[in-house]
């Protein structure tokens, strides 16, 4: 069996679980900083989660157990996915051939339940958000899997831990044009899956224009805490897919590697997302599929480069 458990491989999971909300804090701080405001403290997401956890709950009379299961399965699937996500060259808790397929399908599981939980409310706003989420993710899934296949071809390993071990220990991956394309494709998937600009705007005030936020409109209290925490965790682990490609660190000293990885994991996606959200608006909904198809094409191109 290719599953290995070592004391180091606990660190990707632990850092994901504890540091993921901080990512949101940093993003909000950067956005505020760039627009000349003084942002909320970095730890604000933790305060919010704590506050939500202590609230009581209100459930709609229309809903069934599906509505209550949605946040649980959403978070549970992401937590499980975190078990197979390495951090740079630090292997994940569990790794085996083809684990990246399971990773993609775990994300799909969480999404499936978020969508049906939204439909459970019987509200047309949430139905609308659910419809869009389902549509966009159907287009982003091929892009993600093809991009990871290109990485697999390049590194000769078909498990996430194996791939990123090679990527992070060799020369800087971005010297290869194929990896640049892979990076762009995964970055678009990253923005889509995390419902950020230019695909979705988490801060809009109108239900009609939202995708992810409108789906969870009816959730509150601990359920909302689960959802928000799950979103942070999802951003963290999908961010790892990107950082593993660009992060050239291989000092040979484990604790130094870990520290640098964590710093980059926090600052990298935060700066990128912050800059994008500061500088551009959300795309029109009709444009989003084109963006996602473009991501798919980048993946295909990357694969063709690797296959030749």
């Amino acid at each position: 069996m290719m599953t290995y458990w070592s004391h180091q491989s606990i660190s990707p999971v632990i850092s994901a679980i504890f540091l993921a909300p901080l990512l949101f804090g940093v993003i909000n701080w950067i956005k505020a900083f760039l627009s000349g405001r003084r942002g909320a403290p970095w730890l604000q997401p933790y305060f919010d989660l704590w506050k939500l956890m202590r609230k009581s709950a209100v459930y709609s009379r229309t809903t069934t157990w599906i509505f209550r299961a949605g946040p649980l399965v959403g978070l549970g699937a992401i937590l499980t996915a975190a078990m197979i996500m390495p951090m740079g060259n630090i292997p994940a808790l569990v790794s085996f051939p083809g684990d990246f397929v399971l990773f993609a399908y775990l994300l799909a599981l969480g999404r499936f339940f978020t969508i049906i939980a939204a439909l459970d409310t019987g509200s047309s706003f949430q139905g609308m958000g659910a419809s869009r989420e389902a549509y966009f993710s159907a287009l982003s899934e091929p892009a993600l899997l093809l991009a990871l296949t290109a990485v697999a071809r390049r590194t000769g390993s078909n498990s996430l831990s194996g791939m990123y071990e090679v990527l992070s220990s060799g020369s800087w991956a971005l010297v290869s044009p194929a990896m640049v394309l892979v990076f762009i494709a995964i970055f678009i998937v990253f923005l889509t899956e995390n419902a950020r600009i230019p695909v979705d705007d988490p801060t809009t005030h109108l239900e009609l224009t939202m995708i992810h936020e409108v789906m969870v409109l009816d959730h509150g209290g601990p359920d909302l805490a689960f959802i928000n925490y799950g979103a942070a965790l999802k951003m963290w682990i999908l961010g790892q897919l990107l950082i593993g490609i660009v992060n050239p660190v291989h000092t040979g000293i484990m604790w130094l590697n870990q520290t640098i990885s964590i710093v980059v994991s926090l600052s990298g996606p935060a700066i990128a997302v912050g800059l994008i959200e500061f500088s551009m608006a959300r795309l029109r909904l009709k444009r989003v599929p084109q963006l996602l198809v473009a991501a798919g094409i980048f993946s295909v191109l990357a694969l063709i480069m690797e296959l030749r």
């Binding site: 069996m1 290719m2 599953t3 209100v58 459930y59 709609s60 009379r61 229309t62 809903t63 069934t64 599906i66 649980l72 399965v73 978070l75 699937a77 499980t80 569990v94 085996f96 051939p97 083809g98 397929v101 399971l102 993609a104 775990l106 799909a108 999404r111 499936f112 969508i115 049906i116 439909l119 409310t121 019987g122 509200s123 047309s124 139905g127 609308m128 659910a130 419809s131 869009r132 389902a134 549509y135 159907a138 287009l139 982003s140 899934e141 091929p142 993600l144 899997l145 093809l146 296949t149 071809r153 078909n158 409109l217 601990p222 359920d223 689960f226 909904l285 599929p289 295909v300 296959l307």
Partner: protein, 660 residues
Amino acid sequence: MIVFLLSVIIIVASGFAALVTRRSNSLSTFLGVGGVCAGSLIGLIPTFNVLIHGSRLSLHLPWHFAWGSFFVEIDPLSSFFLIPVFGVSILTAVYGAGYLQHYRQTHLLGVHWFFFNLLVAGMAMVAVAGNGVLFLISWEVMSLAPFFLVTFHSDQSKVQHAGWVYLVATHLGAIFLLVFFLLMGVNSGSMDFDHFNPSGYHHLSLLFLLAVIGFGSKSGFIPFHVWLPEAHPAAPSHVSALMSGVMIKMGIYGLFRSLVLLGVPSVGWGYVFIGIGLISGIAGVTFALAQHDLKRLLAYHSVENIGIISIGIGIGMLGLSWDNPVLVVMGMGGALLHVLNHSLFKSLLFLGAGSVQHASGTLEIEHMGGLLKRMPITGMTFLVGAAAICGLPPLNGFISEFLIYQGSVYGSMFLEGATVGAMPAVIAGLALIGGLAAICFTKAFGIVFLGTARREKGVSVRESRLSMKIPMLILSALCLLCGLLGADILKTAAPVLNMVTMNRFLDAIPLELIKAANSLRSVTWVFAGLILILTGLIFFRKWLLSKRYVQEGVTWDCGYIRPTSRMQYTASSFVQPVTGFFRNILQTRNIVSPPHGLFPTKVSLTTKTPDVFEKKFYSPLFEGTKRILFGLRWIQQGRIQLYIAYIVITLIILLIWKVR
């Protein structure tokens, strides 16, 4: 072998008994269902015996019939397909007993059970037939019986039409099989499978083509799929479940069998299978998206899943022709597992659809809503089936798709040359199919079972009776179980894989199987982790909310005062972005009557997505045939003297031909 024949005899005999006692619906139902259950249970004994020991059981009796001999043999391949035949038959029969209760005043159920039992026996005989003639006879029984099952509601014109489409499609396919077996028989001088010797035959590709069309039309490869979306909605649900879960797999069995009979295919055939699979998979799920008849939607998903199976076979065939056991294990193994898995979750979904139809009196998704509250068991089991068919962890659908993914990832990683392109195409195709299937089943489950009832009728809906619930519960438990035991099930496929590869990789296949099983075992560990985490979260939230006030309220409606159930999102609007994306393929027609005047009273929108292949290909084809044949109508004058003259002329011609 005697035990197996005994089981078939029990099934057939009980069918006849049901026919004889048709005056009493309760007695004939008891006899029919009891016979299927008893016969299938007995039949499972030799089946498991063969599969576990990797042995063969056979019986060869002389039979005074042109080229025929009563040669039956259970080898590992047969036994792998016999498991769903017997297993699903039991469950659908029990369900059917409950389902048909509703019609005991209006229909003769004994006739129905007679044909049901014939179908089960026919499928069992197809799987074990070792002689071409016997195979074709069993095939005909298996193909004809469903016609009478599909036309259960024979008073509806739609059902009659569906019955005819099915009959024509299945016989067009059977013609190709007849030619296939005749060519094989003529070439090798015997119709017994073990005497078939294709090595001397030059047109191997022709034989393959005949097999692909003949068996493919039974399985529902695009473009031979048109009968599925017609026949499945028309048939009673337990029949749809059996047909979609098991009968169409006999086409896949036939393809595997012809692989055994014909030997190593040329590389091109692997690509053909992958191509057919990708087209069937993507087009199948795309058409499914646009349907709002629940069973029609499920029928198109059968096309999709047959496509996935075909992709697996294609990868395995490439492995065979490239001498690559890894591809064989991943591709063929994945295809075999998907056969088993699909037979579980598809019959589960059809049974669920039947319960829904029973309760709400309609299959129109747009009219439903909120059924989960009234039918908790049906809803929960349907959800399990929906998640399984989308390949979501921790259910069985993921296991088989994972193997096929792994095969194509392996191919993309290690193969060289221009031919590798098929492998990434498979990955992209499977990912797209998975994503679209998720849209389709969030729609199907969400609109049917969640929200509130869209029509008044939905309010009075009741959960179905126990005999319908138990098969659904068993099937959903099996979906979970097969998800967790994927590695062990894959290992039982070893003798089957050895057969299909003609023992060419006797050393390599067990080795690769262990590797594949190990990664499946890791998947299972993650599944276990997932289940553990979910359980933990459930208790965590329970603890959080234990001392607090949990309120009930209305769904947030943006301050609107009088929301109605009609304002919910509909199935059509849910999939509209996607169907818009595929509008060139789907060619959905919108029939709109827009609002008029200052105070519009009546507004309506109807969307229809007919099958493009039927509309653009088959309808013109059959219309053209009809026109040509109409040109021959002058022969038919309706005068008896003329017909006698025809007969005499024919006889004279035959006489001259014979004497000459």
